[in-house]
């Protein structure tokens, strides 16, 4: 196994990147104990206006990570977005597998080998497993999955292991259509349309540093609201129909909510957010459903 752990940075604190690397190298050392000969590299792609890590910080990261076969860091000098950053990293550093990992995640020591072991097996329906998702702490992702088999309709991109050939076969993230939100849902459905199963491995854990507000709710930023609304339309255009997408767009454009109107304006300005409809989503895609599938709960 030659694993590239890919993470796209944007204005992260250097300490957060150090924490990310600490988790990756600890989990890599454990993976190598159980799978001698495994290679693990960390590839950081930085979309920030200024590099998150200076030369000294990068050197320190490399010195403290002897369990990793390499630590790559590239400052893109442009905000390529989440999917665009991963595409650039994937093109530059090719292994047999890649782990898409958010920079604010700390992996548990057992996470990598448990994810890898699950990728090796077949799904309950006999399909090859195309991708495996870690379980998130402190807040589990609210989407539903079968707790016995791990089968899931889509996988969250905070910590996602997949063979490089699967990622390549489905052309990676569609970063033109989904610059911020729902790119993981779209990737998941394309992997399923290619004949693979998706599973959650709940014993592979990553601490994804999310917080609740004082009232126990979720506080999304303005940007997240706008991106979320815009992604709803794009998802309908790609996996539903042009009519459904146009209907939702008109709702947003006429909304009293300025964030919805901002999303409509963003869709006006970006024709690439209106992709052609796919015809292979029957029985897979649920673009009109809140949360893009069944949820165990909402926050």
């Amino acid at each position: 196994m030659h694993l590239i752990v890919q993470s796209v940075l944007y204005r992260n604190a250097p300490a957060e990147v150090e924490r990310l690397a600490r988790g990756v190298r600890t989990a890599a050392a454990r993976l190598r104990e159980l799978l001698p000969g495994a290679r693990v590299e960390l590839a950081l792609g930085d979309c920030s206006p200024e590099p998150v890590l200076d030369a000294a910080a990068l050197d320190a990261l490399r010195r403290t990570s002897p369990a990793l076969d390499a630590v790559h860091a590239e400052w893109f000098d442009a905000n390529l977005g989440h999917g665009g950053g991963h595409a650039r990293l994937f093109a530059a550093h090719r292994g047999s597998h890649l782990l898409v990992l958010n920079p604010d995640v700390l992996l548990a020591p057992e996470a990598l080998h448990r994810l890898a072991a699950r990728l090796d097996g077949a799904a309950a329906d006999g399909s090859p497993v195309g991708a495996v998702e870690m379980r998130q702490l402190p807040l589990e992702h609210p989407k539903a999955y079968d707790p016995a088999s791990g089968a899931s309709g889509w996988l969250a991109g905070a910590g996602l292991l997949l063979p490089a050939e699967v990622f390549e076969r489905v052309d990676g993230f569609d970063h033109a259509a989904f610059p911020m939100y729902a790119d993981d849902v779209d990737l998941s459905w394309r992997i399923r349309a290619a004949g693979y199963a998706l599973v959650v491995e709940p014993r592979a854990v990553g601490f994804h540093d999310k917080r609740l507000n004082e009232h126990g709710g979720w506080e999304a930023s303005e940007l997240e609201w706008v991106s979320g609304y815009a992604a709803e339309v794009t998802m309908l255009a790609k996996w539903g129909s042009a009519e459904l997408a146009r209907e939702r767009y008109e709702q947003l454009a006429a909304s009293d909510d300025p964030r919805a109107r901002a999303a409509a304006a963003e869709l006006d300005a970006h024709p690439e957010r209106w992709p052609a409809v796919r015809t292979d989503g029957a029985g897979i895609a649920e673009p009109a459903r809140p949360g893009y599938g069944e949820r165990r709960f909402t926050i």
Binding site: R19, T26, R203, V205
Partner: protein
């Protein structure tokens, strides 16, 4: 930064992970949440509470596995048959301590919030924060049992900390408070007091100034009891720490007397 704020920021923090036998299988989640603290706690104690030898060995191995994730913390495995002695030992350490029950998890800012609270009120003996509770079960899982949240987090806390109500209604779990370590002095010499060590130390700390923080810093899991029985564990405790029956009224009176001083 003011002198008081600096003192709060520098207060050493000890986190104790308490692992009763029935919750040993879910210690990894708790430990990962401790390792994710920013800033990190100065000390982490893994304390089995009534674990058999084999389970205790497993926990010691877990402590070893997690050490690289806590490079700036002293991580110790403390296997004492009496958990209260583990708590009492903290009296020898300067600073504040908190106890996390195995299976419960901290948000990434627990330590930071405690330090901020002590900067806000340097003389405080008890820091109380908000928490959320989430129903969960131990599901079979594709490769072994693993926690599975069955509903969203709710916030059952009262807005103000009242030690008597806290005790009576289990409104504050151990993970939602931090206390000055001096409150643990002489705890194990408490004679035949059968009450839980954490309750007794909280009772002592609550006699001094209390500082409240509005942040939700921990997630307490409400485990599905039937599911645990299926995995041959003991019945779950209903709250974070259960008081002996019939003692709540006397304890409440004692606390009220303490608070009137």
């Amino acid at each position: 930064m003011s002198e008081a704020a600096t003192a709060g920021a520098c207060t050493p923090v000890t986190l104790v992970l308490r692992v009763p036998a029935r919750l040993a299988a879910v210690a990894e989640d708790s430990l990962l949440s401790i390792a994710a603290q920013s800033p990190a706690p100065e000390r982490v104690l893994l304390a089995p509470d009534g674990l058999g030898d084999e389970a205790a060995r497993g926990l010691a191995e877990l402590a070893r596995d997690f050490r690289p994730l806590l490079p700036d913390s002293a991580v110790q495995f403390v296997h004492d048959p009496r958990f209260e002695r583990t708590v009492e030992r903290l009296a020898a350490e300067e600073g504040v301590a908190g106890v996390l029950r195995s299976g419960d998890v901290l948000f990434g800012h627990w330590c930071r919030t405690v330090r901020l609270a002590l900067a806000q009120r340097p003389g405080a003996r008890l820091v109380r924060m908000r928490f959320a509770r989430q129903p969960a079960r131990l599901a079979p899982g594709p490769s072994g049992p693993a926690p599975f949240a069955t509903a969203g987090p709710v916030r059952p806390y009262a807005d103000q900390y009242d030690p008597a109500r806290h005790r009576e209604h289990m409104q504050t779990p151990a993970s939602a408070v931090a206390w000055r370590t001096e409150a643990a002095a002489g705890l194990a010499g408490g004679g035949d007091d059968p009450r839980d060590a954490v309750w007794r130390v909280l009772e002592r700390a609550a006699a001094g100034p209390i500082v409240e923080r509005p942040e939700i810093t921990s997630l307490v899991r409400a485990w599905d009891e039937a599911e645990w029985r299926a995995f041959e564990h003991d019945a779950m405790e209903p709250g974070a720490v259960v008081a002996a029956p019939g003692r709540a009224r006397r304890a409440k009176e004692r606390l009220r007397r303490l608070l009137r001083r």
